[in-house]
Every structure is written in C-alpha cells, then in structure tokens.
Symmetry: C2
Subunit: 373 residues, 2 copies
C-alpha cells in the first residue's frame, strides 16, 4: 500500500466515524426558527445549533442550502418519497443570525419558510440560532420605542431618501425633552432596514432603557451604499466617501435636527457602523470631527492615534469585532489609542464571526458608554 492510499483510507475511516459520532449526538429537539414566516414549521434549529431544512419541490433534481460549516459548500438536501427535500447542517452553527439562500436546479431562490432580510444586495432568507444571551434583544413586556420610516429630500442625489429613526419610549409624552442621536450604519450589501430587522436595535434599546442602564437616545439609520460599491476583489479600492458624506452631513442630519427633538450639537451626536458602515464612520468622523463626539467601529476597522492628531478630540472611541474575526487588531488599536490619551474601549464578541450577533452585542455594549454627562 502506497502512502497516498493509506492516507485516503485513513481519511475515509475518520470521516466515517466522525459522521457516526455526529449523527448519534444530534439532539432531536428541533423547533421552528424564530424568523420563520407565520405558521411555517421549517427551517428548524435544535438546542445544539444544528439547522434543518425542508423544501417542497417534487420534480427538482437538486437543492442545496448555502448555510453550513464555513467553506464546505453548504448543505445538500435529499429528496424523500413525499417530494420534500430535507437536510441538516453537518455541524452546529454559530449562535445568532445568518443569511442564506437555496440553489435549486442551478438557480438561486429563497426558502419559502423564512422571512427575508436585505443582505448581499438582495432580500435573502434568514435563520436565527438562539444565543445563550438572547434575552438582551428579546421582545419583552416593557415600554417600547417606535421605529419610524422617514423620507427626506436629498438635493445631492435628486431623490427622496429613506431612513429609519428609533425614538425611545416616552418620546411622545414629555414634549420638552430633547435627545442625543446615534447615526448607525449597516454593512455592505445591506440597507437601512438591517439594524431594526436582523439587528433588533430597537429591542436592544428598549430593554436597556427599561433596566435604567442607559440614557435614552435616538438612533438614525439610513442607506449607505450611495457609492454603488460592487462585489468582488478590489471593490473598496475606489471607494469615495463624498456622496454618502454629503447625504449624511448636509442633508440627513439637518433634516433630523429640524424634525425631531434632538440635542443638535457635537457633544450629543455619535456615529457608528458595522463592516462597510464602520469604514464610512471612520472616514466621515475624520473628515468632520466637528460634528460627532463619539465614534464606533463594529467589525469595521480601527483608528490610529496618527489619524486623530490635530483634530477635535472625540469623547469616546468604541471598536469591536467577533472573536472569530481579528480581535487582536481591535485590542491592539485600543491599547495604542489609550496610550495616546484617547478614551477608547474595545469589545470582543465571544464565538461569533462577521455576523449580526457580533453587532447586536456591540450595540448593547456601546449604548451605555454614549452621551454620558
């Protein structure tokens, strides 16, 4: 037996026993994902984080789910005699929210069982793997703030643009109170719906406010893809912030300050964003430090002391990412910022990657640090 064959045999043996071990250990306590459409039983998730799919397409030849373990090409479904295709991820998924889609006979479609969420520049299926700490973004019987769709005029793009505005509970009642504002951006391929739909930003805020852990503030979320960044290698090399910066700082901020009871000064204005939204935050806060006192990059790069010197000093810099991203880069950047005299905080979300549970947790950690008097 040549070494090559031996290795192949070993591989088969290992794979086979792994597979048996996994099959034996999958807990059969699957329940519908919380993001399913009303009345839909599938997809399901078990207590270990495995996801199971079930799709009706009796005459189809192949169905694959894009979700699965990283880099292994997703989960192939198997057709049963009843015309339903079923399959289970080969391992547990990370806790939290995941985008996915189906490939049916070579075409890309969404799972009819789930709600759709805007990601990858399209409305995609979404699934929620319950997180051990999901209580902080749960819908509870506490006073709720509202999420408002606003349409604001934008001369620079010659459009009426959409944003969503979270106003905290009680906003309508005390008509003399004014609030600080966090401008919070989505990532590449997402839009202004992301932070409310898959991010649960409103519920995170409601719950924090109910426990008295933060001072209420307004959150404004708008579309940041005005630069029309295309997917693929080098997508961001030619990225210019000018268009979006104009929309945000010359059009949206004045509109919000005129339409809502804001504290319309630098000390009560923050900007943050996830991924590409962090990159935008980085660029805009450095270009317009006179507008924002708090900066937050969520899986969206870092600041160096060099970039900040000779500019109006921020009151706080918050930098975060998931432990499966580049936590050392985040931690080292914050050490350097502190060494240079900046008030900087790092946060690492345990056992999460470049996904929304990282960002939900980041918002939860960030909110109590903002707008301290």
């Amino acid at each position: 037996m040549k070494p090559k064959c031996l290795l192949a045999l070993l591989a088969v043996t290992c794979a086979s026993s792994l597979c048996m071990a996994q099959t034996a250990s999958i807990a059969e306590d699957f329940k519908p994902s919380t993001f399913n459409q009303p009345g839909q039983e599938y997809p399901q998730v078990n207590s270990q984080g495995y996801a199971r799919f079930r799709i009706k397409a009796p005459q189809s030849d192949s169905i694959k789910v894009s979700l699965g373990l990283g880099g292994r090409g997703g989960t192939k479904l198997t057709k049963g005699a009843d015309g339903f295709w079923t399959g289970t991820t080969e391992g547990p998924m990370d806790e939290g929210f995941h985008y996915y889609h189906l490939t049916i006979d070579g075409g890309v479609f969404n799972d009819p069982g789930t709600l759709n969420f805007y990601g990858s520049t399209r409305w995609e299926s979404g699934i929620e793997i319950p997180a051990h700490d999901q209580d902080f973004y749960a819908l509870k019987d506490v006073p709720h703030g509202n999420v408002q769709q606003i349409l604001f005029p934008s001369k620079s793009t010659n459009t009426q643009r959409r944003a969503f505005v979270y106003t905290p509970p009680g906003y309508e009642k005390d008509k003399s109170k004014k609030y600080p504002v966090l401008y919070l951006q989505h990532g590449w391929g997402e839009d202004e719906t992301a932070w409310s739909n898959q991010g649960h930003a409103n519920l995170i805020m409601d719950n924090l406010i109910a426990t008295g852990k933060i001072q209420p503030f307004i959150i404004v979320m708008t579309y940041g893809m005005t630069n029309d960044v295309k997917p693929g290698p080098g997508a961001f090399k030619s990225f210019k912030i000018d268009h979006f910066q104009t929309v945000l700082t010359d059009e949206l901020i004045p509109y919000v300050d005129a339409s809502f009871r804001t504290r319309a000064d630098r000390a009560h204005r923050a900007m943050g964003g996830l991924s590409m939204g962090g990159m935008e935050t980085h660029m805009i806060t450095l270009n317009k430090p006179e507008l924002f006192a708090y900066y937050a990059l969520l899986s969206g790069g870092t600041y160096s002391p060099d970039e900040l010197k000779d500019k109006t000093k921020p009151k706080l810099i918050f930098i975060s990412c998931g432990s499966k991203e580049r936590p050392d880069g985040v931690k080292n950047a914050v050490v350097a910022l502190k060494g240079a005299g900046y008030d900087a905080v790092s946060y690492i979300s345990e056992n999460t990657a470049h996904e929304f549970l990282t960002w939900r947790r980041s918002l939860y950690e960030l909110a109590p640090l903002l707008f301290k008097e």
Copy 2:
C-alpha cells in the same frame, strides 16, 4: 369528422390565430417593474400592461408564474439555451399591484427579481403594472409624513403587538396640534405592512396634503387576523370579531390616544378596511358605534339601513369596490342608505378587480371626505 373533433380543430385554429395576433401586437418597450429588487432587470412590464418574466434555473424541468389572465392557470415559462426561463403573459394585466409566485418543479417559490409583499398569509412576489393615474401615489418632492412601527401591550392576547402609524408632515413641528385618526385594516392573508408597502397609503396622504385637498390626519394599521381565519370554503362562517375587537378598541385605541396627539373622540375617529378588513369594520362599527363617526368598506361588503337603525348615526358611510367586482351591489346599498337619511358615498374604481389599485384609489377618494368640520 365527428363534432368533437371539429370543435377541437376550431379551438386549435382560434387559439393559434389569437396567439399570432397577440404576438404581433405586443409592444417591445418592456421596463423593469417598479417593485423589483435593486438592480434587477426582471420582471418587466410594457406600455400595454403585459408582464415578462426571466428566471435562472438551468437544470429545472418546469417553471410557471401564477400570474396571467384570470382563471387560465398563469404563465408557463420556456427554457432557453442560456439556462434562463422566460415568458410573457398572454394578455395585458389590470393596472396596479399583483401578488404572484413561481412554481418550480412542483414547489412554490418567489421570484428572486422582485420585492416580497405579505399576502395569502405569506411573503409573496409583487409586480406593479403602471396605472394611468399613478401620479396620486407617486413618491414626490413634497413634505413627507412618517410611518412608525409601534409595539403595544395586549393583555387579551398576552403579546406585544405591532401596528404602523402614519403621522402627517408637520406632526413633529407644531407640538400643540391634535389630529383625527383613521383605523385602516388590511385584507385576509395580509398584515399590518400591506397598506404602507403595497398600498402606498403614506404617499397618497402626503400628496393629498401637499395639494391642500384634505385636513391632515393620522392612520393606524394593525394586524387583523387575530381570529386565525384559515383559507378554504366556509372560512368566514365561523368568524368571530370578539378577539380583534378587543385588541382594537380596548388596547390599541387607548394606546394610540395616550401615545400620539390625537383628537380622542368619536367625531374624530374613523374605521375602514379592505375585503376582510371591511367585514371587520362592518362588525366593529355596528358593535361600537359610540367609538367611530366615519365608516369605510373597501371591497368589503355593505351596510343596510336596518343594521344601522337605533344606533348612533355615523357622519359618513363610504363604500367602494372595483368595477370588476360587484359595483351594482355597492351602488344600490348607497342608494338605500341615502334613502334612509344617511350620508353615504359610493366609489367604483374603473377597470380594477379585488386588488390594491382599487384600494389605493378608494383611500384617495375617502380621505377628503373624512373629518370635515
């Protein structure tokens, strides 16, 4: 040749010439539907109202689009050498909004080209056939009201329930002004997103307010399927209004009156709904005439003078439907109501059926009649 064969031959001949005539007359000026997802070229609509579909699924065996001429089973797509399936409706569609879905190899999926809209108790694909009068619901450079998501506590259902609230432009600015409220319900299988998403209720209001044709008012839209009405024959026979009535009148209305600057009396409160929402409006206004002064049924039945007698008299009854529904029933009901001394108005939407253009137009006609001093 037996008669049966002759008929068959005639049928083939007729179908064939019809088909040729149609093909010759289809204007090749197709454009992406306004409800397509960002950057998606298909589905498309031409100036005559034909819809054209294009779906990638190279290994699929059959794809059918549920849209087509009424009762003819939709539009079958044909596979091209490039792996894309294409097809055009066999005739022009009615103007306005249509739900649809794809049947791919026996399974039901959405068209990845379009946005999804909640109808038939699921998120379905939607397409917009431009209407000759579409200006009244267009997004224009006028002051815009906001659409807010609220979450209100419901003891009767032990949930935090969602509603959307349209507040007119200027609501935030004049903090002393109070507004009348229209409670506006969706139809069976839809939800509280319908009137804003596919109904454009907010844009209809913005445009009416900008031209000074109406006094601004608030619209509240919540989920009316608390009775869990299932599809199929006899679905509504066992319909009981109690659950939804309790949510609306004992929970939502007090919450709205406490949270927004409303004129919280009967004279400044209206209820309306489309289809099943009309049925709910009919039941609730008759049960609680002390709460509402204006009633509106949009493709949702009629009132008779007998039902209304000995009850607090409404200020206005508005009844509408599409010309392809039962316009005589609507007109006759209004004649009878007027004869009995009620202020009643009928409206028939020309060349539309039980679909959203009927209801957009109905709201446009209704709004100027509400809350006249």
